[in-house]
């Protein structure tokens, strides 16, 4: 299979009659003369399928036999399969490391490949159900299985006593299966299968407590929004197939392993641009970018482990991963990359500003996720694929830790999510506090926590890349400022200061969640630390938030001590032909790099200092100044820039009513999910119109048939006259 791909790719490259230059070193390669892009080294394995199928097995067992297995059985099946899967993935990655050793990979990409069965062979179209593990997939694989395992473990404590316990684990396992298909798929069709699968699981899990209508509605909103994106993705996939005749990212990247601007004649640039834009629409849906991000905050209706696993660590990064997977396409599609970087930067800032004023702890984290995904897309748009993947990885650590920490707090506070009722929890739950602090320092970008390295590289690339610029840098820096602010705001409001507690008579209006209260193992009273199944994952993730960054120490810092940038070296074979070079004036300007690093640290420090002023210094009055002095700004942020309302009015209403009601609706805050309702009511009205003909009258049915017949007759007579 694989040699055939290489042939296809080289045939495309050769058809332009051009030598393929070595693109890794920017301009240096060209001087060394023509070097043909090295074909990937492939080794067969049979374990990849096992990694994928274990969670599926778990899902089947828990789904169908969950009631009979009992809690322990469900735990064993749910966590056991994932644990095995995680262990196997370590073994596979070690195999892969062996493969990268001398004598094996001759400079090209390398990976393990398994062809499960031939899938569709129709005419010229060939797609096998095949799996492919290369360095890029390996990073994702480890993150998905290991963080996934930790979150499964955590769920044992969090979901204890829930009536849908087995169902929850079945969904979670099914999600992991789909996510692994997405990560390991050797062609875009398998990837798409996983893509749809994770969407479905996300929908099922958001609406997990479906007895509450709001939750079910949030699930629906996520689903509909994602369909918009999926449509773009499917179209983009078709375009790629039309151009390359294959859907395998390896073959496509190989065919595109030429310097920018010297595309073979068979691949017109505009098709790449269009395909990249369409794919990015798909990525926007899945990874919650402007304009399709609106579903993610609502998705917090699901249980907190779900928010951690799906809506922070793994699924939402699928869009980033897909862009990295198809780096060749985005490498050449320069305009599409500008769109990506602009959208990414705007999303990062917009979501971060909204996060500043939210009071629901999970909502803040949700907007933070949207914002951090924006950071990743900035890296992608700048063509620094490895940097984006690096941030993806560190983000998976610290954001999972934050969500799990918030879950721990929520559980201790009996499903109260409003931070105004928290405070002083450090005393009651030290483990949660310390891990949360670590993760917060990481996301705020404080040296030497993980986020410092990854975020800083993004900032550097935002200004130094040929596709970046000062404006982008400024926007992203501002977003980083907001990040540190809202994160420390959480810390102050939740863990530090005085414990405020939930006042008497404050109803639990969190629907089904409160209904589960009597299942929880602790009585009302002082908040208590969570059980070990929950704190152990927190500790592991907390430690990872601290040390995870050392996998990608930038050259300016580590180079002097001979400390390599491990992640970049590891990913180099994947991205070597497509990494966008830095601006030559910046590339070796170490002074500037140090300066910017200090600037971002300073900004974060300033931000933290501000939060201390507002919450730590006991100056409560200061806090209100903001709301009083510029109420419009506060309202704007509090209402999330009115984006939901904007969609409601600009996109939906014209479809349904074209009337002055539009203006009235903008101020109508009641209808938050107008997107779902609007589309639905449009369809309903259209169907009602059509359904009116369906009045049950045989005579009318016959008349409609004849009318159709006459119209069609006239049509062909018309054609007849024309020809």
């Amino acid at each position: 299979m694989q040699p055939l791909l290489a042939q296809t790719a080289q045939a495309i490259a050769a058809s332009a009659g051009q030598a393929v230059a070595h693109g890794a070193g920017g301009g240096h390669g060209a001087a060394e003369g023509p070097i043909v892009a090295v074909a990937p080294t492939v080794e067969a394995t049979s374990l990849l399928a096992v990694v994928i199928l274990l969670p599926l097995l778990g899902a089947a067992l828990n789904g169908f036999l969950g009631k009979r297995l009992g809690t322990q059985g469900v735990n064993l099946v749910g966590c056991g399969t994932v644990a095995l899967s995680a262990l196997l993935s370590w073994k596979l990655v070690l195999d892969l490391v062996q493969l990268s050793g001398p004598g094996h990979a001759a400079g090209g990409n390398f990976g393990l490949h398994q062809n499960l069965f031939p899938w569709i062979h129709v005419g010229s179209f060939q797609a096998d159900f095949a799996l492919w593990l290369d360095p890029l997939a390996a990073v994702m694989l480890l993150v998905v299985t290991n963080v996934g395992f930790l979150i499964h473990l955590y769920s044992i404590g969090y979901m204890k006593g829930d009536p849908g316990y087995a169902r929850f684990f079945a969904y979670l396992n099914l999600f992991l299966f789909s996510m692994l298909c997405l990560v390991l798929g050797d062609n875009l069709l398998v990837l798409f299968l996983g893509w749809e699968g994770v969407g479905l699981c996300s929908y099922l899990l958001i609406g997990f407590w479906f007895e509450d209508r709001a939750n079910a509605r949030a699930g629906k909103k996520a689903f509909v929004t994602n369909r918009v994106g999926d449509f773009g993705f499917a179209l983009g996939m078709m375009m790629l197939f039309a151009v390359f005749g294959t859907l395998e990212p390896q073959a496509i990247n190989q065919a595109l392993a030429v310097p920018q601007g010297s595309l073979p004649a068979t691949v017109p640039l505009w098709t790449l641009e269009a395909a990249a834009l369409l794919l990015f629409v798909g990525a926007c849906g899945k990874s919650a970018q402007i304009p399709l991000y609106i579903w993610l905050p609502d998705a917090m209706a699901g249980p907190t482990p779900v928010s951690a696993l799906i809506h922070a660590a793994t699924m939402v990064t699928a869009g980033v991963y897909m862009v990295a997977r198809l780096n060749g396409v985005f490498f050449h599609a320069e305009f599409a990359c500008y769109v990506v970087i602009v959208v990414g930067a705007s999303t990062a800032l917009l979501a971060a500003t909204i996060g500043l004023v939210q009071n629901d702890i999970k909502k803040v984290l949700a907007y933070s996720t949207v914002s951090q995904l924006g950071f990743m897309f900035v890296a992608m748009g700048a063509g620094a694929w490895a940097v984006g993947v690096f941030h993806l990885m560190t983000h998976a650590f610290f954001k999972a830790c934050l969500f799990l920490g918030s879950g721990s707090v929520i559980l201790a506070m009996h499903h109260e999510q409003d931070m105004r009722f928290y405070g002083g929890l450090k005393r009651f739950m030290p483990t949660t506090h310390w891990t949360f602090l670590f993760a917060t320092l990481a996301i705020a970008g404080i040296f030497p926590f993980a986020g410092f390295f990854s975020k800083d590289e993004i900032l550097w690339n935002a200004i130094a890349s040929q596709r970046g610029g000062t404006l982008i840098y400024a926007v992203v820096l501002l977003a980083a400022f907001c990040t540190a602010f809202y994160m420390f705001r959480i810390l102050w409001m939740t863990f530090w200061g005085e414990h405020r507690g939930v006042p008497e008579g404050h109803g639990h209006d969190h629907g089904a969640e409160s209904a589960d209260d009597d299942h929880h193992h602790h009585a009302h009273g002082d908040p208590q630390e969570s059980p070990w199944t929950m704190t152990v994952p927190l500790m592991v993730l907390g430690v990872l938030s601290l040390v995870g960054g050392f996998l990608g120490v930038p050259a300016v810092l580590g180079g002097h001590f001979g400390f390599p940038n491990l992640l970049h070296d590891w990913l180099h074979p994947v991205f070597q032909y497509s990494t966008v070079a830095l601006d030559p004036t910046m590339a070796h300007n170490h002074a500037m790099e140090y300066g910017l690093m200090a600037l971002s640290l300073g900004v974060a420090g300033l931000s933290i200092f501000l939060t201390w002023l507002l919450w730590g210094g006991g100056k409560d009055a200061l806090r209100d100044i903001f709301a009083e002095k510029s109420p419009w700004l506060h309202d704007l942020l509090w209402n999330k820039w009115y984006v939901d309302e904007l969609y409601e009015s600009v996109l939906l209403k014209p479809l349904v009513f074209v009337s002055r009601e539009v203006l009235w609706r903008i101020v109508d805050e009641v209808i938050i999910d107008g997107l779902v309702n609007g589309v639905a009511s449009f369809c309903k009205q259209a169907a009602d119109k059509m359904g009116r003909a369906q009045d049950g009258d045989v005579g009318n049915y016959a008349t409609i048939m004849v009318a159709g017949m006459v119209v069609l007759l006239l049509v062909i007579v018309g054609f007849g006259v024309g020809t």
Partner: protein
């Protein structure tokens, strides 16, 4: 050759089109009585030219009558298929005879079914 039939087609479409227009106009302009308010005269058998009989004058016919009538229509008309056979039976010879017997047997099966199900009993 083809032009010969063009007027026919146009006549066809003209007829349908005229009808559609009239029906459409009727639908648009005419009053729309509810089903219950439709004058009873609409349901009268005016085609035969005889004024409708009084309702209580109409004798009720046993539903068995319809059943027999239906069976009769079917068995009677299947006999139509015997005509071409009768015209050609010399040429078809034994093969034709066998074919016909098969055909008749299938009719007989229908008859047996009707008989066993009680369709032939008047009571």
């Amino acid at each position: 050759m083809s032009a010969q039939y063009l007027p026919v087609l146009f006549a066809f479409m003209g007829a349908i089109g005229f009808m559609a227009v009239m029906l459409g106009l009727n639908h648009l302009l005419g009053p729309k009585p509810k089903a219950a308010l439709t004058p009873a005269v609409k349901f009268e058998p005016f085609e035969c030219g005889v004024p409708a009989l009084q309702r209580d004058n109409r004798r009720r016919i046993s539903v068995k009558y319809y059943l027999v009538a239906i069976l009769f229509v079917m068995f009677d008309l299947e006999a139509v298929l015997l005509y071409p056979w009768a015209v050609l039976y010399r040429e078809l010879g034994l093969f034709g005879l066998v074919e016909l017997v098969v055909f008749l047997i299938s009719l007989v099966v229908g008859l047996i079914y009707a008989w066993r199900k009680g369709a032939l009993e008047w009571q």
